[in-house]
């Protein structure tokens, strides 16, 4: 069996047996979005206007919630040292971790999003584009989050610090993702925005596993 599938099965098995974590992320996502109609008033046009942005910001924060646990369990029980010492490339371990994080966080967020589109009165013609931005954008969250999670291992108040470090770096993703919806509404088409998001995903995919692996080696040294 290849190293990838060995790692992937273990991660998924662990995630499945602690699936409450995944539901908590979704719960947070829904509640955070639902607060807005109370905060800014239930006027449908207003909600439609702010809906995409609110949903994206809530998705960002929800993804952040589970981020610090990406390596924390393995760090605390000593598994991380052994993963670093295994004959498998650490970059591959990181990729598997990011993939499972996305499958247990990003994917459920995408699946829940349409429900929130309805509740926030998001116009039907931008549903597809917004879902596409989530498909392209949430993996970037997991990838950049992995860097932050690895850097803050063993830090005091690591979870808060992680958000402080990673959220500013995610601003471009947010800008272009929400901009895609607006572009469609203004009749410009979202192609440019989606291309930029795709570029960010490819760039993050190429660089972050390497940086994260380096940070993990430092964390156990």
């Amino acid at each position: 069996m290849s190293a990838f599938s060995v790692l992937f099965r273990r991660e998924m098995r662990l995630a499945m047996r602690q699936s409450a974590d995944s539901f908590m992320v979704i719960g947070f996502f829904v509640i955070a979005v639902v607060l807005f109609p109370f905060g800014v008033g239930p006027e449908p046009n207003m909600l439609a206007r702010i809906g995409p942005g609110v949903i994206w910001v809530a998705a960002l924060l929800a993804a952040m919630l589970s981020m610090d646990r990406m390596f924390m369990g393995d760090y605390e029980d000593g598994s991380l040292e052994l993963l670093v010492l295994s004959p498998v490339a650490l970059e591959l371990v990181v990729c598997v971790k990011v993939l499972t994080h996305w499958l247990t966080t990003g994917l459920p967020l995408i699946l829940t999003a349409p429900l929130l589109f309805v509740m926030m009165n998001v116009p039907g013609e931008i549903w597809l584009v917004l879902l596409l931005t989530l498909v392209l954008g949430t993996p970037v969250l997991s990838l950049l989050g992995s860097v932050g999670a690895a850097l803050t291992l063993g830090a005091r108040r690591g979870g808060v610090l992680l958000s402080l470090l990673v959220l500013p770096l995610l601003i471009p993703v947010l800008i272009f993702a929400v901009g895609a919806g607006d572009a469609v509404l203004f009749g410009n088409g979202a192609k440019a925005n989606l291309m930029l998001l795709g570029g960010m995903l490819l760039g993050a995919l190429a660089l972050t596993p390497w940086v994260t692996a380096h940070a993990l080696r430092e964390a156990v040294a």
Partner: protein, 240 residues
């Protein structure tokens, strides 16, 4: 060469000798710069007196980028060659860079209000500089978050290098996107487009900020070296 100055005692001696000169140069540049900036420079036909804000804003923005680049280079040297002095230099630079970034943002805002009619716009330049400010803060917070200083140093060095992608974005944001912020008018291929009388105070202030940085960073590095030395002595005390 690098290793020659890496010796803390030698570095202390050298920087003590250089510091008064830097301080003097800084004060002279500030004096002349402020005179030109406030009294002896022409009023811009479009901006009126607000052009005087530029003599702080532009050099501060340059310094914000300069400090970050210096930090990134130091961090890379510290990571690759395990160079202790480079690491200390990165640490000493961070608050100065953060201060310049803060100044660039605040003075930009004070200029924007009368000129654009708003304190803040969410365009590419302003946003990316704001991210730069957060990166400085994040660096300092991460560096401080570990009980073992070496671990904080290495983790934050990696963060600085990751955040370096932001620097070209800031530099080219005004050329890549159409925004309210005006394109660069001093550092361009075909020569500056602003009035020469305005260049004098601009460059004097930039030089003053540069000397300010070098003077202060040497002082801060010397302080960090003393802190390291103190810690080493404390460890020796504990194990004696």
């Amino acid at each position: 060469m690098l290793h020659y100055f890496a010796n803390p005692t030698r570095f202390q001696r050298l920087s003590r000798r250089v510091e008064p000169w830097l301080l003097a140069a800084m004060l002279v540049c500030f004096g002349a710069g402020l005179y030109f900036a406030l009294f002896s420079s022409p009023v811009d036909y479009q901006q009126g007196h607000t052009v005087r804000i530029m003599y702080i804003h532009v050099p501060a923005a340059w310094m914000a980028l300069f400090c970050y680049t210096a930090m990134a280079v130091s961090a890379a040297v510290a990571l690759i060659w395990k160079h202790a002095l480079a690491d200390v230099a990165a640490k000493a630079t961070a608050p100065i860079g953060a201060a310049f970034t803060f100044l660039a943002l605040v003075t930009g805002s004070l200029w924007g209000k009368p000129m654009w009619g708003t304190w803040w716009v969410w365009d590419a330049r302003l946003t990316s500089v704001l991210v730069l400010f957060f990166l400085y803060l994040g660096y300092m917070a991460l560096r401080d978050a570990f009980d073992e200083p070496g671990r904080g140093a290495r983790a934050s060095a990696i963060l600085v290098l990751v955040g370096f992608v932001n620097v070209p974005i800031i530099k080219f944001s005004v050329d890549w996107w159409n925004t309210l912020h005006q394109p660069s008018s001093v550092l361009r291929m075909d020569g500056p487009t602003i009035h020469p009388d305005m260049l004098t105070p601009l460059f004097l202030m930039a030089a003053a900020f540069q000397f300010y940085y070098f003077w202060l960073v040497l002082l801060r590095i010397r302080r960090e070296l003393m802190v390291n030395r103190t810690r080493a002595l404390r460890h020796r005390q504990a194990s004696a």
